[in-house]
Symmetry: C2
Subunit: 351 residues, 2 copies
Amino acid sequence: MHLEIAILGGDGIGPEVVAQSIKCLRSVEETFGHSFTFKKGLIGASAIKKTGSPLPEETLKLCKNTDATLFGALGLPEFDDNPRAKVWPEQGLLKLRKELGLFANIRPVKVFPSLVKQSPLNKSHVQNTDLVIFRELAGGIYYGQKTNDEDKNSATDTCTYTESEISRITHLAFKSARSRKKKVTLVDKANVLETSRLWRRVVRSIAESYPDVELNCLFIDNAAVQMILNPSQFDVILTDNMFGDILSDQGSVIAGSIGLLPSASVGLEHAMFEPIHGSYPDAAGKNIANPVASILSMAMLLQHFKMNEESDAVVAAVLKSFSKKIVTPDILGSSKYGTNYVGDFIADNIM
Amino acid sequence: MHLEIAILGGDGIGPEVVAQSIKCLRSVEETFGHSFTFKKGLIGASAIKKTGSPLPEETLKLCKNTDATLFGALGLPEFDDNPRAKVWPEQGLLKLRKELGLFANIRPVKVFPSLVKQSPLNKSHVQNTDLVIFRELAGGIYYGQKTNDEDKNSATDTCTYTESEISRITHLAFKSARSRKKKVTLVDKANVLETSRLWRRVVRSIAESYPDVELNCLFIDNAAVQMILNPSQFDVILTDNMFGDILSDQGSVIAGSIGLLPSASVGLEHAMFEPIHGSYPDAAGKNIANPVASILSMAMLLQHFKMNEESDAVVAAVLKSFSKKIVTPDILGSSKYGTNYVGDFIADNIM
Ligand SMILES: CC(C)[C@H](C(=O)O)[C@@H](O)C(=O)O
Ligand SMILES: CC(C)[C@H](C(=O)O)[C@@H](O)C(=O)O
């Protein structure tokens, strides 16, 4: 198979971890006889510094005209520290998701048996966790009307959802549950928010056409507790953009390191694959960033194109790195292995 | 001192746990020579069932005309399951907070040394946790304009904040930090939300008048992770209504049981004291609910009226119940003690 892949490294550790995924893709090419072309684009703080825009036109075109995008991470503290700035890195990612129509962000949270000890949670609480979060990615408070009135000293964000926005991701979530443990948990705040009440109404009515899948509903505050106390109760979690952001970062802790968890952002025409971790500028350039989240995101890319055997081979190589303890220091404090070494090891073991 | 206290038990386990606080207040009366009058009011599902309204006029009047309110919990699943309902229990609590002008919800999270083992987090992660969350309680998306258009199949929630809303709770948070570890962490999503950017602007400028207090800012997704990985890094957490709801429920897990954590909701004229747990209808009437969160909320009430010695005596009695293992089953699975017994023990040990 031939694929053209847009590579957006972004800021901080983004470019370093994506570089390891490229190594692994080269190895997949060789082992399985595919051909991948990589085309780099600018996004985030580095794009602002070079072009003034967090998402240059060229980058957007690149992502639209390639088969898929591999994204690293973005954001730099110098932008967070200026609440009066008119342009900041995250706008690039938000615009890219919107323009590519990526409405579902799929975030699997799995506890690898060899890493159970890494979890800050007691073993009994994390064992057997295998859940996937379907986070709505193109709507909600991220994209509603915003105002920031310096004279009136007031600001507003609007959260809007329509039935069709809810419906398309709900079908994805139920279809996924069918091939898993047949359980969907809708996370919302229906005792306070009207958008949540719409979610409940739409999701309940769609659930009727999946009688083999059980649906239950949890308030976000309770879900945040259950995610720590008893994560293995979950199969598919369905939630909106903001709650999904919080819950999935939190879920990452279960796995032992936020440096482990991948995600796929999909729409009708495009797909992008990105680790759920941030840009960690403090770690950038030090060869300590964990490349596994990016590599597993790349494995989701292979799966997206039905290269299941290839995807399994990548995951197997990652598991081998765990069992051989070829891991970065976030996983094993005493580890001497850096980003590059771990990337090389995984690439060499894709077979 | 004479105090008139409004008692709103609410739904589920609410009335049972509040009954234990009343016992303890009777004991405080006797031991310290005070006089407390209790006046009961209806709220939540039980109020809807009896009067049609989740907050009858009478209850509101009661709370306005007493010195303080002791609140239990509210909510019943039969209301959550009907997203088309026009009236539901939580509206009562939200209206009460608004009408009483309770703009700050103060939620201390402490790990009691004798209960460290209870935490689902590894010991090293929770030891030394002693933080307090200042959650804005009268604004944000809880109270913004809402629409739910069945024809258009769309719904909207609006999150608005003004400088003065942010400013009043910020001052409380900084003053509290001054008497603690001198650190305020603002939790927001300033890389996405305009309201968060206003929070950053206002909080940064207020911080200048507290040069002895350190301010740092965290995104909510990262804060949810840090709350599990390293809660002892926090002193005072300052955040908006929605993020505060999620983060404080999550914080409760650190302490070992959501049945342990109290809160105070304060305004300029009124104050209300409530456990942070919900109504757990499944546990209602079974004499298994943990009364400690309500009793510690009552201790915050005493402190609010400068009865520090009295408040300390209540906390000491609670600690004694821990060390004697007179606790409900949420704390010790094998425990034979019920709500009433634990309440009696604590009341008897206030001295
Ligand atoms: C960088 C930020 C805008 C983004 C989000 O909130 O969606 C990130 O936290 C994520 O989860 O991908
Ligand atoms: C019952 C509900 C409306 C309430 C809230 O979200 O504020 C509760 O979760 C709380 O935290 O006190």
